[in-house]
């Protein structure tokens, strides 16, 4: 499901692509490094960017597109304001990574690999992030959260929504957040006693 370009986005894309191409030799070997750099700047690889890069390197756009879909690193949808990555590495899978992933899907009403239509959240699965000790692990933006249960997913979402809506619904959110925290406390007590 391609996401509509926002106002001014077209121009940003074109200028970033141009900047990146400027100091690079136009060879096939540089295709992946160029795509990596453009994605770093834009957060994803819009169709338009791939077309332009293909043109510049003399590679058909379908080939660029094929390459971008082949590699996991490249994303064709813009990332959400908040990026949620659920670890589905071996250790995380065995300890309930799927439950965390399902919980986010339920909450956000999107599938893995997608971004909510308001571009607030995107959901991805990743393989081992290197801290299996804390499995199951979820990475929210840059923060790593360990031992994520379904309740913790609710709590995390409330925290994120709380941040997002601070100005307009400060009151409402605070109430919800408190509720969320209470739940967590109860749950943590339960876990400790076990």
């Amino acid at each position: 499901m391609p996401v509509e370009l926002l106002e001014g986005e077209r121009e940003t894309i074109l200028s970033e692509v141009e900047n990146t191409l400027q100091d690079k030799e136009k060879t096939r070997e540089n295709l992946i490094p160029i795509l990596q750099q453009v994605q770093k700047k834009l957060g994803y690889l819009p169709g338009l960017a791939m077309e332009k890069i293909g043109e510049a390197l003399g590679i058909p756009a379908v080939d660029v597109f094929g390459l971008a879909t082949f590699y996991d690193q490249f994303r064709l949808n813009p990332p959400g304001e908040h990026e949620i990555k659920v670890c589905m590495g071996t250790a995380c899978y065995m300890t309930g990574g799927r439950i965390a992933l399902d919980s986010f899907k339920r909450k956000l009403e999107i599938n893995e690999g997608e971004t909510t239509s308001d571009r607030k959240y995107s959901l991805e699965r990743v393989a081992c992030v290197g801290c299996c000790t804390m499995a199951p692990v979820v990475v929210v933006d840059e923060r790593i959260e360990g031992h994520v249960t379904a309740t913790r997913v609710d709590g995390l979402m409330l925290e994120l929504q709380g941040e997002a809506g601070k100005e307009d619904h400060a009151e409402e959110e605070r109430e919800e957040e408190q509720e969320g925290e209470e739940r967590e406390e109860i749950q943590e007590e339960g876990e400790q006693e076990q």
């Binding site: 540089n30 490094p33 690193q73 081992c128 299996c132 749950q187 339960g190």
Partner: protein, 637 residues
């Protein structure tokens, strides 16, 4: 050539580094582990807290970031070295504890022994690593300095003897270097165990002047982090090994292939190369010799198949990473059509040690056919998770029970998954086989990538097989039919079994046949090894498959479609409503009589109520097959 010899140039570097460190000797130093595992547990905060406290108290002490010392279960970790005391390691740190250490230890000379985990050097007051069972079995070579030196400072690596092997190598002929490695019996640690020197020799002998060597740090196994850990903790070791190997085969350009998704490994490696260039260890006339080498990083884009050496080379050339039919071997025609050697990061990590201590020394460790040590990321249902390094020939039992200190809780060991998606699951009865390339292969598993996951009674073996096949099926590059369609077909069967949709046991024979066909017919080792998780689980845990099929029962109570959550009325306390609050879908309600019950329509099987029901009640149970619910409900109402 310059008038200064290679060894003299090296001696100069070394004495400058020593001078720098001698000057620092009287300053206490705090080393905080900030590899991925440490960061996840909050190491950045701990480091800041140390810095803050030291500044606030006006102390003279250094805070350095180090990599992973392998004890990931105890992160955040820090080592405090204060003159007059042994270096002491403290585990599970937080800001409060940091304050206390600064006040009590740095200011007042009380090392808080009651909170220390281990001492680094032998002393009269506190045990060291070798006083623990883990220390007895562990033998660290490539992990030796990981977590104990600053990966961002080449001088510390040099003080510890770093780059001495390079200086020796450059005074030998490439052939002599190759001979030393050949005699050591070093086998590749990327999975297949191919003798390193054999591959080098082919590339060296191959016609042409332009040759390449690539350090393979792709590490695509979804449950392993050794190579990343090593690059984050001691990048200079791998770099030194890479330069020596490049010299041996006669390459002028060397590459690190590291995933872009591992930014810290990329960053620390890049910094290591920069510093090595500054010291004349990379670039033109290394250490004053007439050998020139340029070292670069290529960032991989995250495809498991790109760990396979021919696919890796394809991706460096700007194409989709698809394996190539061989021959020609890469060592004849690889990157840009030139002779190319691809070696795993760990393989290269052994090279400097072998040149320094000799082939004889290396052969003395491990097994005659698999000399040296082996590095594992030990994870799953085991107490001491982390990076471990043991001699080849150590048994799985020693690794899990002595090094890993066994299974947490009162749970029963079920299996150990070794080698990641290409490996297999071995049962209790296989625990006494020695870990080496050949014994593991005989048992149906594989050394593979070095991921080692311990599974207990709560883990469903069909689901494990499904997990790995799902991974390989998605990662199959699609080039050959057996792999592309075969893995899909097997995955469909496993999917139906875990859902309870297969009713005929014959499907298991079909699965076995398919698995054998894919193994025999695939082009590369991704396809050839993809069936291993299925074949080993069928071989050792067939009863679990059968229970899924004939009884619709998941014995480990893991497969969501085959279980139902149920609250046992006699055990439920009317006064407690923890489960109600824990349910994310409000499926749990209070009955008229005050007992709790689950609305099955709303239940998403998230396991939360099961985890939160207090241990004095344990009223939530998982029933499998789900049909048991009717029986239970019939009885209780």
């Amino acid at each position: 050539m310059s008038t200064v010899s290679v060894s003299e140039s090296y001696a100069e570097l070394k004495s400058a580094a020593e001078e720098k460190y001698n000057a620092l000797q009287d300053t206490p130093v705090i080393m905080v582990g900030t590899a991925s595992c440490g960061k996840a547990a909050g190491a950045d905060k701990v480091k800041e807290a140390f810095e803050e406290e030291i500044r606030a108290k006006g102390l003279d002490a250094r805070v350095v970031e180090v990599g992973c010392m392998g004890h990931c279960y105890a992160e955040p970790l820090a080592v405090v070295s204060k003159p007059g005391f042994p270096g002491l390691c403290y585990a599970n740190l937080d800001e409060g504890f940091v304050k206390r250490l600064v006040d009590d230890f740095l200011i007042n000379d009380d090392p808080c022994y009651e909170y220390a985990m281990v001492a680094l050097e032998p002393n009269e007051v506190f045990p060291t690593f070798s006083d623990f069972p883990r220390g007895v079995y562990e033998h660290k070579i490539v992990l030796e300095h990981c977590g104990f030196i600053d990966p961002g400072d080449i001088d510390q690596y040099i003080v510890e003897g770093g780059y001495e092997a390079l200086s020796r190598a450059l005074e030998m002929t490439p052939e002599e270097v190759m001979e030393e490695i050949n005699e050591s019996g070093l086998r590749g640690r990327g999975g297949a165990g191919f003798p390193a020197a054999e591959k080098w020799e082919v590339a060296r002998e191959a016609p042409g002047d332009v040759k390449y060597i690539i350090a393979n740090g792709d590490e695509g196994d979804p449950g392993a982090f050794m190579d990343r850990g090593i690059l984050e903790s001691n990048p200079h070791l791998v770099l030194e090994g890479l330069i020596i190997s490049a010299y041996a085969i006669g390459a002028q350009e060397a590459y690190f292939y590291i995933r872009a998704e591992y930014p810290q490994a990329v960053e620390r490696t890049r910094e290591a190369i920069r510093q090595a260039k500054e010291k004349g260890l990379v670039g033109p006339s290394i250490l004053g010799s007439d050998y020139d080498l340029d070292v670069k990083i290529f960032q991989g884009s995250g495809a498991f198949i790109c760990g396979e050496s021919s696919a890796l080379v394809k991706s460096m050339e700007g194409h989709m990473g698809m394996p190539e039919q061989r021959p020609p071997r890469l060592s004849i025609s690889g990157y840009r059509g030139k002779p190319t050697v691809v070696n795993n990061v760990k393989t290269l990590g052994y090279v400097p040690h072998i040149l320094r201590k000799g082939a004889e020394w290396f052969r003395g460790i491990g097994n005659p056919d698999s000399p040296g040590t082996v590095v594992f990321a030990l994870v799953g249902k085991v107490n001491n998770t982390g990076l471990v390094e043991v001699p080849m020939g150590t048994t799985l039992r020693q690794l899990i029970y002595d090094v890993g200190e066994g299974i947490p809780g009162d749970k029963q060991f079920k299996a150990v998954q070794i080698g990641g998606p290409s490996g297999g699951c071995l049962p209790e009865s296989a625990l006494d086989i020695p870990i080496d390339f050949d014994s593991l292969r005989e048992a149906g598993a594989m050394m593979g990538s070095g991921g080692l996951v311990v599974l207990d009674e709560d883990d469903c073996m069909v689901s494990v097989a499904h997990f790995f096949l799902d991974f390989t099926q998605k990662e199959s590059c699609g080039k050959c039919t057996f792999c592309r369609l075969g893995t899909k077909h097997m995955l469909d069967i496993l999917e139906r079994i875990t859902r309870g949709e297969e009713e005929d046991l014959k499907v298991l024979d079909h699965l076995q046949e398919l698995a054998e066909d894919v193994r025999a017919g695939s082009l590369c080792n991704l396809g050839r090894t993809a069936p291993n998780p299925i074949l080993t689980t069928l071989r050792y845990f067939r009863d679990e498959y059968e229970a899924h099929i004939t009884e619709r029962c998941c014995p480990a109570r893991m497969c969501p479609d085959l279980i139902t959550f149920y609250i046992e009325p006699p055990k439920c306390s009317k006064l407690c409503s923890v489960c109600v609050g824990s349910c994310p879908t409000e499926a749990i309600y209070t009955r008229e009589d005050g007992l709790k019950a689950i609305d099955q329509e709303k239940c998403v099987k998230c396991n939360n109520c099961y985890l939160t029901c207090p241990p004095e009640y344990l009223a939530v149970v998982k029933l499998s097959p789900p049909e048991l619910l009717e029986e239970k409900e019939g009885k209780s109402s």
